[in-house]
Symmetry: C2
């Protein structure tokens, strides 16, 4: 229960001296939800990342990367074949390019 994305968002938000109460409505959610997102208990919708990046004056691609990493991690954590699987996917996407 802890996410790279959420941790980063919290840091960025605090750097901007913004409260949950200020940011949440901009994302059309309540503070409880945003709190959970920062704590990794809920996922932000992918489509909302660009808006959040803008609000936090952060790099969109960085946030997308962390968001994806969390999703991937959810799949392979606790799996003994995790590393093999990641390698397999890396190979596959490299071929596509």
């Amino acid at each position: 229960m802890d996410s790279q994305f959420g941790n980063r968002v919290r840091v960025l938000r605090e750097k901007q001296k913004l409260y949950l109460r200020q940011v949440a409505p901009l994302l059309e959610m309540d503070t409880a939800q945003l709190s959970k997102i920062e704590k990794g208990q809920r996922h932000l919708k992918k489509e909302q990342i660009p808006l959040l990046a803008e609000i936090l004056k952060a790099d969109k691609d960085e946030l997308i990367t962390l968001w994806l990493a969390d999703q991937v991690f959810d799949v392979i954590k606790d799996e003994s074949m995790a590393d093999e699987a990641l390698k397999s996917v890396s190979r596959k996407i490299k071929k596509k390019k």
Copy 2:
């Protein structure tokens, strides 16, 4: 709509000269479902992989790896930050070991 796992299962099943009709009931599903799984249109439940490996006299870890790779691929396909995200996850799981 095409999966490494499904493709491999089909190859293994044919190598064993088994029909969908023979394998499906062992997994408690109908042939239509298994067909879709082999074509990557549905996912097999993770818990069923060991049984399937046994049925097909295949290596369980190989099937798990392919199954995980498909799940991961679903997350990062079409994402420009895919490669970065995979690297980030690799780093993270390496630290845990």
